[in-house]
């Protein structure tokens, strides 16, 4: 018998399986295996942060205010693909994608509407944005300024993790080298000016959904984290203790309950050692592994889709027992479409029942000291280290990305799982066990509103008509000039572009001229 990631499991575990009591210091102490805080969730509950966004800024703003009214404590913005890949809504190649999988943002005018009546100093906002992350951050800073909010008070996260995009999510724009420079720019800028904001959320979630197992997900993500930290450290302007608080992480919690818990505990311990030993951090807080997660994704299935409600609830429980700092619970109808308000609310309630009724948040790391959980944590860490060593030996993450090595590892694992499901070795209720002839539910889903797209195009045209052309030319010109040099931080220049109502496509275009475009290796 073995776990989903292939870790062999004994029938039971005992004292002989514990490395030593010293290897598991109390919660809140280095290396934080048992959690970042001595009082667990008593000081602060995890952030309940539901991913949401669609259509135009008006529609998304309405959904955000609804979610906040219902007790959501943070926002999580989903963007449409043109915004993520750097195209304006009026680009002829992307017309069918505008406002489809998230909100369409072209200029600061859209961002002003998106956060209308939402006090940016009181909520934290997470942006699932990568290729254009620095541009969206610039928009957010400009919008806060218009609201009269000091940027030092802003809380939230931009995902800003381009390396995994090259492998598994696909919203790359520029090649790795200049992209890493821009990411380091955002980290340095936020450290100086937006200290409560996370400039990067290093994400394993998308490796996972593309097929990686739990050990690979953690290993690839830690390697990406190292790549970003190396970049900032190599510039020599900041020490790890200065910028480490800017770095957070993001994962999927899938169905293997104890393995997921072990994954988070092993990841916390490994990252703590990396930050102290590789970068010489002096402050233990720099070594904290701050984690957000999603319960759902590729662990949800279309047949007997209501079973997904149960899956998400178990995954949410595993996430909390694993000690995450924020969570998104997916809606049961996600295999089919963007959730309805009803299914999205049920997903939110799933976390609230967990947080307020079950009592699991009362005591820090309730599974600490469990023979099984500690042994599984140790074994998971060993596997993570092995995978990381392999990648280091091959020359690191950028090389693994450029050569298609990561693509191959993930495809292999996805194929292995597919075969295990097809053969029945991996049992999934409604898919290969207890099947019924139940028809797929007629999910209402979100139908793109043609009217909304028309409004978006009109607003973009209106902005282009009324903005100062000379401001646009000046700010874009300055951006291009700075991009050609290595030692200028681009963030202030992007903020100037945002304030001049330059579009996402215009800013991306200027940088493409300087930096070129990434070509993905097509490996299957």
């Amino acid at each position: 018998m073995h776990s989903e990631a292939g870790i062999p499991l004994a029938a039971s575990y005992g004292p002989a399986d514990l490395a030593s009591p010293e290897s598991i210091p109390p919660p809140g102490e280095f290396p934080f295996t048992r959690g970042n805080f001595s009082d667990g969730y008593r000081g602060r509950l995890w952030t309940i942060r539901q991913y949401s966004g669609f259509g135009t800024a008006e529609e998304s703003n309405e959904r955000y205010r609804y979610l906040l009214d219902q007790g959501g404590t943070g926002l999580s913005v989903a963007f449409d693909l043109p915004t993520q890949c750097g195209y304006d809504s009026d680009h002829p190649d992307v017309e069918e994608e505008v406002g489809r999988v998230g909100v369409a943002l072209d200029t600061l005018a859209d961002v002003e509407i998106l956060f209308d009546q939402i006090p940016l100093d009181a909520i934290s906002t997470s942006f699932t944005i990568n290729g254009t992350a620095a541009i969206i951050l610039a928009f957010y800073l400009a919008a806060a300024e218009l609201q009269g909010v000091d940027r030092a008070k802003l809380r939230g996260t931009i995902q800003n993790d381009i390396l995994k995009e090259y492998v598994s999510r696909g919203t790359w724009i520029w090649p790795p080298r200049p992209s890493l420079r821009l990411i380091a720019d955002t980290i340095e800028f936020c450290t100086d000016e937006v200290p409560r904001f996370n400039a990067i959320s290093v994400a394993g979630a998308h490796f996972r959904d593309a097929g990686a197992n739990a050990a690979q997900e953690m290993a690839f993500t830690l390697m990406d984290g190292i790549t970003y930290c190396d970049e900032v450290v190599a510039r020599g302007r900041m020490t790890i203790d200065e910028f480490a608080p800017q770095v957070s992480f993001f994962f999927y919690t899938h169905g293997d309950f104890f393995e997921e818990i072990a994954k988070y505990r092993a990841g916390r311990r490994r990252w703590a050692h990396i930050v102290r030993e590789r970068y010489g951090a002096k402050d233990d807080r720099s070594c904290m592994f701050r984690v957000g997660c999603v319960a759902g994704g590729a662990s949800l299935y279309a047949p007997q889709a209501h079973n997904n409600i149960v899956r998400v609830a178990y995954e949410a429980l595993a996430s909390v027992l694993g000690g995450v700092q924020s969570m998104f619970t997916a809606a049961w109808d996600e295999p089919f479409a963007i959730p309805t308000e009803e299914s999205a609310t049920l997903a939110l309630r799933t976390q609230q029942v967990l947080a307020y009724e079950t009592g699991v948040a009362r005591v820090a790391d309730p599974l600490g000291g469990s023979y099984y959980v500690e042994a599984l944590t140790d074994e998971m860490e060993v596997r993570v280290i092995d995978i990381m060593d392999d990648l280091e030996r091959r020359g690191g993450m950028v090389k693994a990305v450029e050569e298609g090595y990561l693509h191959r590892l993930i495809s292999e694992e996805a194929f292995r799982v597919q075969q295990a499901v097809a053969s029945g070795e991996r049992e999934i209720v409604g898919v290969n066990r207890f099947q019924t002839d139940e028809e797929a539910p007629e999910v209402e889903g979100y139908e793109l509103d043609e009217e909304g797209r028309r409004r978006q195009l009109e607003r973009l045209a209106e902005v282009k008509r009324t903005r100062s052309t000379s401001d646009v030319q000046t700010t874009l010109g300055a951006l291009g000039k700075a991009a050609a040099q290595d030692d200028v931080n681009l963030m202030p220049l992007l903020v100037n572009c945002a304030k001049a109502y330059c579009t996402v496509g215009e800013m991306v275009g200027v940088l493409k001229t300087e930096w070129g475009e990434f070509q993905q290796p097509a490996v299957f």
């Binding site: 995009e165 089919f336 999910v443």
Partner: protein, 135 residues
């Protein structure tokens, strides 16, 4: 008999390629000759490669919800490239209610959410067999 040549690709901006890669691999294992084009392909590029490589079937995978428009664009591009005889099939996050709309847009077969790989391979075998008997 020469193996049936299939092009698998993803039009539009959606980067979710797990399904497309699994399908490409399953088709290869089932004896098809697979050309995998990858993500973020323009319909015109897909059509040009289909002609150049003389494929019998073009398989699109779309998970963004933009399947109807992108299928139509690809069908138009194939026609414009003179590849009217190439069969177009579509899978992804496709609700059943859209199957008819996709067929109308030019799809010879549609594999909606929940389709098993075995069913898909069988369907593509039948499709390619059907084209072989046409004079």
């Amino acid at each position: 008999m020469a193996p049936v040549r299939v092009l698998v690709g993803k039009p539009g901006l959606d980067g979710h390629d797990r399904g497309a890669k699994l399908v490409a691999r399953a088709l290869r294992d089932a004896g098809f000759e697979v050309i995998y084009l990858g993500i973020r392909q323009r319909p015109e590029t897909i059509a040009a490669v289909a002609v150049q490589e003389d494929v019998r079937i073009v398989g699109l995978s779309i998970l963004s919800g933009a399947h109807v428009a992108l299928t139509k664009k690809t069908a138009d591009a194939l026609r414009a490239a003179g590849a009217d005889d190439v069969l177009l099939v579509v899978g992804g996050t496709v609700p059943k209610r859209d199957v008819a709309r996709l067929e109308e847009a030019g799809a010879a077969a549609v594999y909606p959410t929940g389709t098993t790989i075995e069913d898909l391979v069988e369907s593509m075998r039948a499709l390619s067999g059907a084209t072989q008997t046409t004079p």
